[in-house]
Symmetry: C2
Subunit: 327 residues, 2 copies
């Protein structure tokens, strides 16, 4: 039995709880919100026995083993560090931190306390990710991975009407790259490794908020190209281009339906099952890591590489977060 | 009646002649090759009355009105300038020149002699190009155009076996961008205009030849992204991303089948006919321009912009042509 608390009361936390409920060892023990009223309202559907409006008290609570953090980007790391220091395992929404320093602090703190830290980046925990990795050799030398995720944000209408919701506020460590592009960057660095260099350009909205961008990961013999946006949709699939053929993924976050298109014109479907709802496999991995059945060294490295690439991209595009100034 | 000569005896010149034969005012008057034997062999299928192995004599021949140049990239401009100076109209294969200076020289020379210069870049002369332009307003503010053309070159096998064919020789002004990426760059600058800046990265093969690359055209409020390759195929379509929906093009050189995917999930097919064989519409435009029925100011500008973008991209990726040093 792993006793969880949640931080954050947005839709993503509901999604987490829906996925988590399918795992028998999961138990929702506590709900945190900045106000008890919001915690109570959120908890109505779940009935967790404990409510918190103090992070320090939650961190100190001996009846909680692990925390899911689904709050706004800029508080991920400070909240996670508070929880880790209190002896809790932490599963934190993507992007784990505002920058590399924050992610490194979480990884190091977890390690020094013998705790599990994990970034909730669902697409690399789906079964399809490993199936694609295991089939990569079939397409010959990989020369480019094109990862595409462009999603017209429901909050963009408000933005255009002059209302600045959190999702469009740079000072909260939000940006198209942080919120959407991360789904492209993370699987690329996990699959291809850390690039030799990064090349990034962004389309900024009139407030300076990054609405869309393109990040190129440069390797000696190949490229990773991430195309992401919060202000348009895209119908394009993602693709890993090899000299003998391509692996086509209908969507970088939904890998079922992926197939190999060989240069000779033949196709080979990849045996990827329809995924359970979004976070199911992510929660499974986190619980396995807590139980000592899964080593987190590789996921730590992928989160660090992701953060390094995104920080370098932001330096090139001039997107600065207040969190970058903290010491 | 327009009396043509051809320069170049590769497959592309056969394609040109196949398309040109469908136009009643076209007549093949002469064939040029560096050797009379090759000109004779090439001409067997056509029976042109004149054969040349001297560019100067061809340029001076009063029985020839117009030239199609399908030779190797690095000789396009010098050959075109010789022909223009001899009073011939010139249709030159893409890319028109090795760099901006060469393209500007062709445009200026044609203008000063009252002649037609045109770059044979077939995809912007297909009916689909104008149909897409006329439907652009339906997708709202355009935020990105993603143009993808990746074609595993039949000559790449020879390259990997140690045989360096022309298609993989940088000194002939060949590169993945020049040979393949040009099909992406040209329609982007023609549709979106000249970008504020260019960001380019390349994957180089062991000889230094550019096997693939990504070029980003940066505009204040949008991007153009060209993904091109001579060493892999891609199954991805191209896409123009707007705030209300996307225009999806099955292939940047074959526009039939293009459609609009709206944000609300509905689709609208675009009424683009199946194209005639590749160069049919290109030859039509060239003949119309010679007859004074088509102004070439816009096509001149698109060729100049294409050359400027590709030269800037090459400067960033360190791909230098001997033709760049000529004065």
């Amino acid at each position: 039995m792993v006793r969880f608390a949640t931080i954050g009361t947005n839709i993503i936390t509901h999604e987490f709880l829906s996925a988590a409920a399918k795992h028998p060892e999961f138990r929702l023990q506590a709900v945190y919100s900045r106000s008890v009223e919001k915690a109570q309202a959120f908890n109505q559907a779940y009935g967790a026995p404990l409510l918190f409006d103090s992070l320090e008290e939650l961190a100190a609570c001996p009846q909680v083993d692990a925390i899911y953090i689904g709050s706004t980007n800029y508080v991920h790391a400070p909240q996670a560090l508070t929880m880790l220091s209190g002896g809790k395992h932490v599963l934190v929404e993507k992007p784990a931190g505002s920058n590399l320093r924050e992610v490194r602090a979480m990884v190091d703190t977890a390690k020094s306390h013998g705790l599990i830290f994990m970034e909730a980046i669902r697409n690399v925990y789906q079964p399809g990710y490993e199936i694609i990795r295991n089939n990569l050799h079939k397409i010959g030398a990989v020369r480019r991975m094109v990862a595409i995720y462009c999603k017209y944000s429901s909050r963009y209408d408000a933005y255009k009407n002059g209302t600045l919701l959190n999702a469009f506020r740079t000072e909260l460590s939000n940006s198209a790259l942080m919120d959407i592009g991360v789904y492209c960057i993370h699987p690329m660095v996990k699959l291809l490794g850390m690039p030799d260099s990064v090349t990034a350009t962004s389309t900024l909205l009139h407030t300076g908020f990054e609405g869309a961008g393109t990040v190129i990961l440069n390797y000696r013999d190949k490229q990773g190209v991430a195309l992401y946006s919060k202000i348009v949709n895209s119908a394009l699939p993602s693709e890993i281009q090899g000299e003998k053929g391509s692996i086509i993924m209908p969507h970088i976050t939904r890998l079922a339906g992926s197939y190999i298109q060989y240069n000779d014109g033949t196709q080979e479907p990849l045996p990827i099952p329809q995924e359970e709802d979004g976070m199911y496999h992510q929660v499974r991995a986190f619980l396995d890591a807590i139980a000592g059945r899964l080593d987190t060294a590789k996921s730590d490295q992928a989160s660090l590489d992701e953060a390094a690439v995104m920080e370098e991209a932001r330096q090139q595009t001039g997107i600065h977060f207040p969190a970058d100034d903290a010491r």
